[in-house]
Subunit: 298 residues, 2 copies
């Protein structure tokens, strides 16, 4: 990636983050009937500085397919809300027991366990609500909700997390690990790209290509995540490091070694970008984002 | 209620329970990607014998407005799934810490806390998915999902539970207690009736009347619930009793005394039934159900 490309991507990403943050702040305004502590708990984590990677994929997918629609930004908010709910629940003492998230105390640390469980529950319901409320053709809304509810359900996001928890203190194969992450991380990456494409009225071939791009990107992201947990800087990451090793978790570095894990991530990024070939320069941000994911340090 | 009316209601209710149980069993079949333990945890509680009161309200509302549609049974399943997810999470040690539910060990007792949290999460996403997948006009599906996501969100179901937890060991007024239960119990009662009516293509006046019926019925149900917690039989209820008093919870009997609570519940049931006057005999089951709620012992 050229230096000017890097600058352009960072501007484009900053703009998207800004737009998404504004939209999320609007979703998370206090409404009648919402208890103060619940609203506070939701805002504490939802509006904390995040990478906004999944909403970015939604917007970039719409851009790659030619246009953003009302459904684009609603979907971007929804995928970030679902990601955030999953972080809140994953951090709970009964799950990964993490105390630091997005550079802030985890929700259960700041607001107690009950409020953390309920804040996650509320965000999940609200994520779907945001899409039901957007001004668009009902057929389009239903199609997006079919995709998103399935991705967040027992066979995808939640199923992956269940298997991930069971994989603690266990040996396993690279195949099993891939199956976990295809659901735990991959499902939300893929659905983000699919929603962005569907919102832009993309062809089935475009949707399929972006889906495959998302599948490879998601797995590469998870490998880099494992590497950062082993080698990364806690300050920069805004969350605890070294936990996977301490918990004897099944990870890519533990399974393949550091060098081979790095090589696998690089291969996946290359395969992801191959899927973008038939797209014009409108897919350039997705290309650059893939290399950003490979090189990220937070 | 006459004896023949009682027999008819009990047959009608048994039929609805049977139909709903069949539909729920189909929703909860194991699918690819869903880990065995997650599917087991979901089935453990979702398919346990329950009153199925909320799905019953959906079906009875459709019947009262003249016809059931594809959306009727999908909505009936969805409201029961959301109710069940809320039971799983409410029973957690960090919340009400209940060990018995529907006559079985609570999900976290049988499958561990992490799996209980995740089973609840999965059921919530799946509840909405069931509606997105039903064969009906997209406009109708979107309208139902707008109603249901709002009822399950931070301003209704979840907000009520947050306030209910905060009301432990606290004094409060009957007004505050009503505000909690209008959201914690009432929201799902009301939306069940609204969805049943909407699925039957009801008029706005019919929807509004059934909504008000549900509001009164929900509050009466909660008062009876409080009375049963104080006086009921654990075996018959299939859950622990006496917990509210032990936890110093704000309840109707604690606030108003037993006799006045019983009187309030009876008044609310009368007000609920007044809303049914313009309906023909198609609303008879709803009338009888209201008195069943008042007299229930489980």
């Amino acid at each position: 990636m050229s230096t000017s490309g890097e600058v352009l991507l960072s501007q484009y990403m900053a703009q998207i983050r800004h737009d998404v943050d504004l939209a999320l702040a609007e979703v998370a305004t206090y409404s009648e009937g919402c208890p103060q502590v619940l609203g506070d708990a939701i805002r504490h984590i939802l509006l904390a500085p995040g990478k906004r990677l999944r909403p970015m994929l939604v917007l970039m997918a719409s851009d790659a397919c030619g246009e953003r629609s009302n459904v684009t930004m609603a979907s971007a908010c929804a995928v970030e809300m679902i990601h955030t709910y999953s972080l809140i629940h994953d951090d709970l003492p009964a799950m990964d027991d993490d105390e630091l998230r997005r550079g802030r105390p985890a929700v259960h640390v700041a607001y107690g366990e009950a409020n953390a469980i309920l804040a996650g529950d509320a965000l999940l319901a609200q994520a779907f609500e945001v899409i039901t409320r957007c001004e668009a053709a009902a057929e389009l809304i239903v199609r997006c909700l079919q995709e998103l509810t399935a991705a967040a359900g027992p066979c995808q996001l939640v199923g992956g997390q269940v298997d991930d928890l069971q994989a603690e203190n266990r040996v396993g194969t690279a195949e099993q690990l891939q199956k976990i992450h295809e659901r735990k991380t991959g499902a939300m990456f893929r659905v983000s790209l699919r929603l962005g494409a569907i919102a832009a009225n993309a062809t089935n071939e475009q949707i399929a290509r972006l889906d495959t791009y998302g599948k490879h990107l998601g797995l590469a992201f998870q490998i880099v995540d494992d590497l950062l947990d082993e080698q990364g800087d806690m300050q920069q990451l805004g969350k605890q490091t070294g936990k996977d090793t301490a918990q004897g978790k099944l990870t890519y570095p533990a399974l393949l070694g550091i060098q081979e894990s790095q090589q696998l991530a690089a291969d996946l990024i290359r395969q992801a970008c191959e899927q973008l070939e038939p797209f014009s320069e409108t897919a350039e941000p997705l290309r650059q984002l893939a290399y950003f994911v490979l090189q990220r340090n937070n």
